[in-house]
Symmetry: C2
Subunit: 437 residues, 2 copies
């Protein structure tokens, strides 16, 4: 029997498919046309396949590319511009005035290039983004090699991007029309929050989402003040209000979901909705700590997000995995809460499910896209190695990511970005730093 | 006027002296005989000094070397051997049996070499350690170039190191006698915990500490169960018991101090005692969250510790700075709690104070030892840069540390360890991995 021609063979010292969970030693992933066609012992490859390219990752943990389920990529240009201040001051004194003065398609494109470089170097191969000028974000992330879910932003106040909520919605739908032929771009309707979008507009968004088969994502129950103000204004908690408007369901992503009581958790679980947990941002802004353990117990799919670099200040899912796993244990005072394997699942398959992309990405299974990363485990920081899941979450960091592929295309090659011009990006960051200061 | 001969000139893009707090741009640190003799604008150096060596750190943040105020270095060999299990199971089923079977001077030396490589690469120049065979730890850390405070361990149960508490004490004092001529080694008496050391022995330790001028460090109020058991056995909380035994004072380090009520905090503050906050370990073992904000409000000096790599699983003070700063904000729901500058101070000067070494290290002031690190800030992850304190805590990681000096001696040179044989260390880790599995 002749060997089957293949595009790529990745030999893994440790292979974490995520689904199924069990780690494999000395296995290879075979890729044809960007799709995983086989996972087999490395010793068996030669007899069956003739690969064009070969990646020796025998000193590595190989796993699915990480999915950043919530980001504002362009805000990387405002990384560290204001820290250690309360949320309303952070927004009103620091972020919104600068956004009003500077946000443009160029700002968003440049900031998203910077964000893409950071994310790819940190093993993030797919990102759900929500910001003004999403077409600029899409161009920057796709040019860098990433897969992207574009949240089409909708809010009731004017910006350089759109004059009113209807303008945002129409512009977003036009962006979708212009970009929908790219198989690595998907879309979501992204009403900013329950306090910035009216009932009328939410109802329209629900209708469009159903007609177009788009998920809905929104910032929800991020702070105690938001929930209290929602109750004061509408007579019910924001999540209950959204439920009444028909927004919940298996294509709904509740971003943050920090202040969720038992009823909120039950409501999300009952609708099979997704939560995007952003622990660094929630802690840093003093928002609080989401009840992730209760959510997981109720079977809610919890994905991980970095939020934007202005409130994190890193687009680093290794950090979010670690903090999510540690924080859940500290809060419950139970070390068995949110084990390492679960944290890795949240950062990969959990993200894929939240984005509605679980048929394509999130695990290394035959038929899925070859969105794959490799983490080098030969440093003293990662020695000895007893459990690869534990190492990824508790010991490794983004700097240990050496390679990344999206649909079989290598976008990070031994720490070198394939499609990004790093020195040009750093010059752009410097340029905007001087303008924003 | 002839220029003054100097051993080393370090030019800093950003210089964080920690004390005083204000960052400086384009300043240089001048070093003679391992001591900082001047901090001045780089432009003024040439007219005044003739340095033998010159380190161009103009693309870096230069700051004091980090002080890891609590570690069990040798436990690095058990990194990730058991995670996501409750504390008593972790100790009784995983750690203690392996310690009983394997801990020896060789185990401790090899594990401490591994730990030193990790710590130095992460910008830790000084470490307070507590473990069996402290002389082996001292040899390994000093051979690697680090400064070390040796906690001389004392507990009531037998080990390969000593048969009983008195044996531990005597052996510890002998270790001190043999190593006290090394100016980069200091000592502390390290009763393991209130539940493993008797009142009688604590009283003797207090006497020795006073006579020899040694600090006392102990694990304290780490878990709710420990406090409850202490109350049940002794009729008072462990900290109160130690206070009655005369152990508290300005040379007392309370390690962990997770479960501290207002009275406990007041007691520590009243004695000017130090707290070593180990947030990763406390979260990971499900111990809980120390009331750091309350401690800082009462003026307690809070240092940061990694704990051992078996419960963290990284010896990484960048991570502890970040988690400490984020966690304190999340718990208080106040983003102004524990700002970045304070977190950097805790990891440097706070550690120096806790170790009783604030006259020698912890800030970049004239007359202090040149224990210095440099963090490269030219990566996309650290662009743009508005505030160097914010970047160190929220955006940078240990992988960004490029250089480290101890007493003016370069122990990490452009990411290369000067005194460690990394491949030999990795072989040792592999050797012990096979034995411990």
């Amino acid at each position: 029997m002749n060997p089957i021609p293949a595009d790529l063979q990745i030999d893994a010292g440790w292979l974490l498919r995520v689904q199924p969970r069990a780690p494999l030693r000395a296995h290879s992933v075979m890729v044809i046309d960007g799709i995983i066609v086989d996972v087999l012992p490395t010793a068996d490859v030669q007899a069956r396949y003739a690969p064009k390219r070969h990646a020796d990752m025998t000193g590595h943990i190989v796993l699915p590319g990480l999915v950043n389920a919530h980001c504002h990529a362009a805000m990387s240009l405002m990384r560290g511009i204001a820290d250690d201040v309360v949320l309303h001051e952070w927004l009103q004194a620091h972020i919104w005035p600068r956004e009003a003065a500077h946000v443009s398609a160029a700002f968003v494109f440049d900031g998203s290039l910077l964000a893409a470089a950071e994310m790819i170097r940190g093993g993030i191969t797919a990102c759900s983004d929500m910001y003004f000028f999403p077409d600029a974000t899409a161009r920057a992330l796709r040019q860098s090699g990433m897969r992207v879910q574009l949240g089409l932003p909708i809010l009731e106040f004017p910006s350089a991007y759109a004059p009113d909520a209807d303008g945002y919605l129409q512009r977003g739908l036009a962006v979708r029309d212009s970009l929908r032929d790219d198989p690595l771009i998907s879309f979501a309707l992204a009403p900013h929050a329950t306090y910035t979008v009216s009932d009328t507009m939410f109802a329209r968004i629900v209708t469009y989402a159903e007609e177009l088969g788009l998920p809905i994502q929104t910032h929800l129950h991020e702070t105690a003040g938001e929930v209290a103000a929602g109750v004061a204004a509408h007579g019910c908690r924001p999540l209950t209000r959204l439920s009444g408007l028909g927004a919940l369901g298996p294509a709904f992503m509740a971003i943050h979901a920090v202040h969720c009581n038992d009823n909120d958790v039950a409501l999300l679980a009952g609708h099979a909705s997704h939560v995007v947990h952003c622990p660094s941002s929630n802690l840093k802004l003093g928002s609080g700590i989401a009840p992730v353990s209760a959510m997981l117990s109720r079977g809610i799919n919890v994905a991980l997000g970095t939020d934007g670099a202005a409130s994190n200040n890193r687009l680093d899912l290794f950090e979010e995995m670690r903090i999510a796993a540690l924080l859940a244990k500290g809060v419950t005072q139970d070390a068995t809460t949110l084990p390492a394997q679960k944290a890795v699942e949240m950062a990969t398959l959990g993200g894929a499910r939240a984005l509605g992309l679980e048929a394509a990405i999130g695990s290394l299974e035959v038929g899925k896209s070859a969105d794959i990363i490799a983490v080098a485990v030969t440093s003293p920081e990662l020695s000895p190695i007893f459990d690869p899941y534990s190492h990824l979450v508790y010991a490794a960091g983004r700097a240990d990511v050496s390679h990344a592929w999206v649909a079989g295309d290598c976008i990070l090659d031994d720490r070198q970005l394939t499609y990004c011009d790093l020195s040009a990006i750093l010059r752009l960051a410097q340029h905007w730093q001087e303008k924003l200061r």
